[in-house]
Subunit: 332 residues, 2 copies
Amino acid sequence: MARPVTLDDVAQKVGVSARTVSRVVNSEPGFSEETRARVQAAIDELGYRPNFMARGLVSGRSQALGFVVPDITNPFFPQITRSMHRAARQHGYSLFLCDSEDDGREQAALLDSMLSQGSDGAIVFPAIGGEQQLMAVAEAGLPLVLMDSHVTHPRIANVNSDIRGGAEMAVDHFVNVGRRTIGMVTSHHSPPQRRWRETGFRAAAKRHNLDMPRGRIIRVEPDTDGGYRAALDLINSFPTIDAIFAYNDTMALGVLAACTEKGRTVPDDIAVIGFDGIELGQFVTPKLSTVVIDRPTVGRVTVETLLAMLDTGEPPAEPVVVPTSLVFMESA
Amino acid sequence: MARPVTLDDVAQKVGVSARTVSRVVNSEPGFSEETRARVQAAIDELGYRPNFMARGLVSGRSQALGFVVPDITNPFFPQITRSMHRAARQHGYSLFLCDSEDDGREQAALLDSMLSQGSDGAIVFPAIGGEQQLMAVAEAGLPLVLMDSHVTHPRIANVNSDIRGGAEMAVDHFVNVGRRTIGMVTSHHSPPQRRWRETGFRAAAKRHNLDMPRGRIIRVEPDTDGGYRAALDLINSFPTIDAIFAYNDTMALGVLAACTEKGRTVPDDIAVIGFDGIELGQFVTPKLSTVVIDRPTVGRVTVETLLAMLDTGEPPAEPVVVPTSLVFMESA
DNA sequence: CTGAAAGCGCTTACAG
DNA sequence: CTGAAAGCGCTTACAG
């Protein structure tokens, strides 16, 4: 395989210095139109391609960003990845994809190699227990944008979906259609400081002066069976319950099953709202109403935030918030 | 932000040459245990991290691979990506992810930047119409592994799932359970040389001496509605039809609907087998039997094939074939 | 408008 | 077992 074509090759062919070719390649000012044309012709003829490693070595910029996800097979991430990739490319950046497999140690190793590879910055959806290490990474020189986290550091930005707001919207909707006895089925895995759906749920309930006795929020395993059991509990404990908000759509499917089993019609007797907008929610009866995260926007905004940090050297003063929205189907 | 720590920094601190530090970092032979210990201590203390751009510039190796997909949001790809990432990391490589958005021009631009970024090689699932350009890319110095393609070139390897074999397995199963009047609903988008399911279907039918009159294979839009209409056609044209093989699970869902509408019980009257193993297939009644591609293996094997090429300088003599398997659920 | 020199942080090839 | 020199392909900072 032939040696790649270098700046010098082009320069020699044209009879100018490498510096001049470099100027043309990078569209810097400082050459005549005639020179430009001759250099460009030589570039095309020889098939010259700039060497980013050489460029990066001297400029300190690799034109590559990293995206660290806990699990790319989680349907939440591919859409975000796609929109991130598009935004990155529009600005001339490539994207390293890293799957931490939701493991803190692996995430640390991954970020370490980002540092070695010379990534200009990284976007991280932290693995479970992987938030502590991030300050050290930022300290080591890697600008970071975190998704759905809150870490304060001069080289870390936070971009959050308005999950709390989405939960409030669900409750607002329930109230608007006359529901007063509202329950929630949620995940027992979320640590207290990350229970945004629950926080929003409680806040909206309070705002509407709803009674919220103990037992109206049930924390279980966030799967269909968990949702099913929790909903049975709610219906048994509060026979007049007329609305249930679920942590995610998978749980909401279990809620629908429980309602059917208890002879309650959805949404007439009990209105149900899930969270996520998974495909499956549109293949059940009634079709699931749900709060959705705007993945394309999240992807684009994280990249733009990171690139802005590379420019200004500091993160935005406030966490960036991407709105969620309530998609009305049939279950509420 | 402080200047990153270099080999020279470490060398100075220890009082040896940069070359010696380099030897320790790369575990090359040629230093005493005492030197190793002192160098390692300095590395840890200073937090030295090798600069891959510098290393790559001189060695010509970036330790990065590229993966170019037509659409990362297609559920086919995330699992493959995950397993690719795992395999790449095990060998010390990072992974650039590129989404061509199924556009040939974009794919070309992406591969061009792989070349500039200095990727050591790339794995490509070609975009529609994006196969011609690949030889030129390989020629320009980028070793390539193609998924589900057949391009012969001294720097291109092909890794294919045994789709044809999967289709044969479906027909074999139909025959084993006594079916003789078998139809197929397939996609009208596949170009003739890529109709592997159809080829396998025909080959198995011939092997079993099945009658295969015109009209037993129907090509339509590969979605649920297409599957539905095509299956209605089949049932109308061949009232004794007792098995239908579908191009993908989405179409198979349409086939199930058509059977129901025509009063045919699945699998008693008509057995149905799909292709892909999508989640939704397990949420319908009867649960869909289907041919699945072994995504984890595909991901791992493509990476291993690429790395082997980097070593030997040439692709395997034959295309690598990854087996598919038939997953029996309820529809067949 | 153009170029000569230095240097980014490493490894290669050689010498001792 | 160790090191001095050259050079990978660029850009930076300067001079003209």
